[in-house]
């Protein structure tokens, strides 16, 4: 059965720290991995990764996919209190499947 596992489950850091969130996946005919940030209700899209080894960056956030290790990491540098949220990782399968398989998320709390 397809699954996505995230670690750690929760994390508490201080402003200015750098954090690394992990995501491992077992998805049949894997085609892409996505990261979302969920603060209150709607998950908001961060990154979509399809190629191994190519880093995607957006401000202080970056992410990379390792297809050999079936994993991805999300890095946040110089964390701010506004980064406090649940970070969700989702895997998408191959042709003929349209569902995204989500992990349980990493709950990040950034203290001032």
């Amino acid at each position: 059965e397809d699954k996505v596992v995230q670690s750690p489950l929760s994390l508490v850091v201080h402003e200015g720290d750098t954090v690394t969130l992990n995501c491992s996946y077992e998805v049949t005919n894997f085609r892409s991995l996505l990261w979302y940030k969920q603060e209150k209700k709607a998950p908001t899209f961060l990154f979509m990764l399809t190629s191994s080894g190519i880093e995607k960056k957006s401000g202080r956030l970056s992410s990379i996919l390792d297809k050999k290790e079936l994993s991805s990491i999300l890095n946040i540098t110089a964390t701010q209190t506004g980064d406090s949220a649940i970070y969700l990782c989702a895997g998408a399968g191959g042709s003929g499947t349209y569902k995204y398989i989500f992990g349980t998320g990493t709950r990040l709390k950034v203290l001032a």
Partner: protein, 112 residues
Amino acid sequence: DAGVTQSPTHLIKTRGQQVTLRCSPKSGHDTVSWYQQALGQGPQFIFQYYEEEERQRGNFPDRFSGHQFPNYSSELNVNALLLGDSALYLCASSAVYNSPLHFGNGTRLTVT
């Protein structure tokens, strides 16, 4: 540009009752997916609608049904509600295959 909108935001129902949740996709999107997010869990795929047809279904019982209208909006119906149906129901829309999902703020359903 309106994003994904869902209604209602909150709903309280009694066991055995039926509920209908509504979703309007982001402008330009023609595909709607529904996810159930229980407390402390990641979103779980219920089904996806495209061209007014259910294109794929997750591991949910037949009590969960849906519909997509010609204007791409969608409804999720749940019959014979159980306590375990209490969750945040998220609607997500997308434009083309293998594109990121855009989520609405969800409907918080509480079954008592």
